[in-house]
Symmetry: C2
Subunit: 111 residues, 2 copies
């Protein structure tokens, strides 16, 4: 349980720490599978940078790539957020009954 917190892949936290990278991830979530080109056209950074960011996201298993011809399509992978959810679960369990505010927040997640 507690050991879980240590085994959480750093990669996920590090990946989501950069706003540009989050923006790319959000774009993939909202607009679905897209090529590097399409993503580049919608960010303010260069194509190589987009490729780099996608590489980081891929390493963290937050996105999945699908090469097709000379294009490479990327899509968000929901399972990639599992480590984050597990990490939150730990705090929820620990704080249960102690801090009502967090409890409320997590309850509202279930609306």
């Amino acid at each position: 349980m507690i050991r879980n917190m240590r085994t959480v892949p750093d990669a996920v936290f590090k990946s989501l720490a950069d706003p540009t990278r989050r923006a790319i991830f959000e774009r993939l979530v909202c607009d679905g599978e897209q090529t590097v080109r399409a993503l580049t056209d919608r960010t303010h950074v260069s194509q190589p940078m987009v490729s780099k960011h996608l590489g980081v996201l891929k390493h963290a298993r937050l996105v999945i790539d699908r090469p097709d011809g000379r294009s490479v399509f990327y899509r968000a992978d929901p399972q990639g957020l599992a480590p984050l959810v597990d990490w939150m679960k730990f705090y929820r369990a620990f704080w249960a009954g102690k801090f009502d505010q967090l409890e409320d927040l997590l309850n509202r997640m279930d609306q």
Copy 2:
């Protein structure tokens, strides 16, 4: 709603990206309020570094400090995780019914 994703404070994501900082935060969660000294004794880094990390966590509103004499006690603030929860909520809403795995994970958060 979608705008929420942009207004999420970077500070929280950036704070949690560093493993040493997460370790300090986890220590505060598990063991409760502690002085800088106590925290320093339980990490492998120097006292100034612990102070710096605590400064970052404090800026992200993940911890609260309480000076007392020459000691300064720090404790974790549950509300500080709210931005993270909101961010997750967005993905839950977006993926609801689409990706069962994430749905299951988030449902299990409510046990």
